[in-house]
Amino acid sequence: MTYEDVLKELVQEDERFIVMTAENRVAIRNLPLLIGDRFIDTGITEQTLIGSAAGLALRGRVPIVHALATFLTMRGFEFIRTDVGIGNLPVKLVGGVPGFLSEANGPTHQAVEDISLMRGIPNINIFCPADEEDMIICLKKVLESPSPFYIRYTNQAPLVKHSDDFEIGKAEVVSDTGEITILVYGILFNQAYIAKSILENEGKTVRLVNIRTPKPVDEKAILESVNISNLIVTLEDHFLTGGLYSIVAETLLNNKITATVLPIALENKWFKPALFNDVLEYEGFTGEKIAKRILDKLK
């Protein structure tokens, strides 16, 4: 089953669903023919896209809205906050090429503050699937939820078979014990998985947690990690500020505990524009480089 299959099925089964885009059809190219007038393209107009999605939601629809993650969350930010957020309307915002997936487009296209921006808006939840399979497993529940959601879209091929036990606010604990815990959301999951194998070859044990929904976050999975492991690693293709590292810090402080945390994120800079694998290599986010950073920290 593909992303388009899920959307097509939902639209056909449930009259509430509408698929919308600001002329970005990469993930939904075949849908106009399949769903007819339930597909609405507003052209390159992120503000009108989100505002009109709010209007459709006022009439009982659930618009699934597509645009590139930067333009969706940043050009359209005030429309998301004011129309979708204050209105608490079930609009689903799907951001294309978030984080490192923007590859060689350059900083204009780098959504590396999207999680920070979206989670700051009351009512809005966030779903960041590890890969295409993970996205397909969780998608229906996210889209059928009454909450507005921001979704980091990915078509990355999976490295592992994911658990189909998904609830909003529940992380996927891929391996549950280890002296090191890697907490990760989105496409860096695969690199975390590779890092885990490398570390295990070095004689280390690794707990790996796929966060899935940074908001609402699975606090229990974070707190358990601190109980189990000596070192917590937060891994994200996002600025250090406002993302998973901040979420973990808030969670720990809120529970009056502390831990040794190694954040792996973009520290106050945009990343070098290049093809995906070269970005990972250059910025130090390959499985190998992540494993090395963790081993250095343990020294």
Binding site: D37, R38, T45, L56, L58, G87
Partner: protein, 285 residues
């Protein structure tokens, strides 16, 4: 329009203006902007829109959005007079025990959606109009925009989209009081020729005197103005209309009057002596 109907509308508008004046003390309100669109809103609710307190959950009813949300006293006054809620509730203006503040809140019966940030509700109206079309409902979607509000680029995005989607069930009304906050529109960001701009964007356009109910009736007599095109009514209005002491003044956009001044303004509204105003206006420039 019959003479009786005309007098009835004038009488309601007078009551709504009284409500607005009473809301412009103990914290104040955007009185100038509210008075400019009073007749327009009174006309729409009493003579055009199929919206009443009993059909709010009916998807076939009309929709009304106030995009320039700071003139909400005019809408609250109209809704109170139309029986959406008890006019006594307006005494809760700016009190934490209620939701009546300087911009619209959906907890007040009859308010479709919140606004306040300019340039939002044209696009929200577009979404509603698109859904009415999808469901083949024959209702109308009306949105009032401020002329100063047209500085915001999102309106022009929306104008393109509404025309491309052939939303002839959408009626945008511009409260053309010729002022932005404290400056005349043509002295800051020129809008004219406004009708021609919208025509070039693919809209059907009509112009009316926004304080003359017969002129409004002519403008709102037939929609769509042009088949398969969204509709625009430019309502020429006067900021502060009804109160000569504040009328068409750049500094009377938002004012917090004293209780004594409120009494004088109510007298002035009824044709008595002009009020002597000493309260300082709010200037954003």
């Amino acid at each position: 329009m019959t003479k009786t109907k005309l007098e009835e509308l004038q009488k309601t508008a007078l009551k709504v203006r009284e409500h607005i004046i009473r809301m412009s003390t103990d914290g104040g309100c955007f009185i100038g902007a509210s008075l400019s669109c009073t007749d327009l809103i009174v006309y729409l609710y009493n003579n055009f829109l199929n919206i009443n307190k009993d059909n709010l959950n009916d998807q076939n009813r009309d929709y009304f959005f106030l995009s320039k949300g700071h003139d909400v006293p005019a809408l609250y006054g109209t809704l109170a007079e139309r029986g959406f809620f008890n006019p006594e509730r307006l005494k809760n203006h700016l009190k934490t025990t209620d939701f009546i503040y300087w911009h619209p809140n959906v907890n007040i019966p009859g308010i479709e959606f919140h606004s306040g940030s300019l340039g939002h509700l044209l696009s929200v109206s577009i979404g509603v109009a698109m859904d009415c079309k999808l469901r083949n409902h024959k209702n109308k979607v009306v949105v009032i925009l401020g002329d100063g509000e047209l500085n915001e680029g999102s309106n022009w995005e929306g104008a393109l989209v509404a025309a491309s989607k052939k939303l002839d069930n959408l009626i945008a009304v511009i409260d053309r009081n010729k002022f932005q906050a404290n400056i005349e529109t043509e002295d800051l960001i020129k809008l004219e020729p406004l009708a021609e701009k919208f025509k070039a964007f693919g809209w059907g356009v009509k112009t009316a005197d926004g304080h003359d109910f017969r002129s409004l009736e002519r403008a709102f007599s037939k929609f769509p103005i042009i088949e398969k095109k969204p509709n625009l009514v430019i309502a020429n209005t006067i900021r502060g209309k009804g109160l000569p002491s504040i009328q068409a003044r750049a500094d009377r956009w938002f004012v917090n009057f004293t209780h004594e001044e409120i009494e004088m303004l109510l007298e002035e509204l009824h044709g008595h002596e002009k009020a002597r105003i000493q309260s300082e206006p709010l200037m954003v420039r």
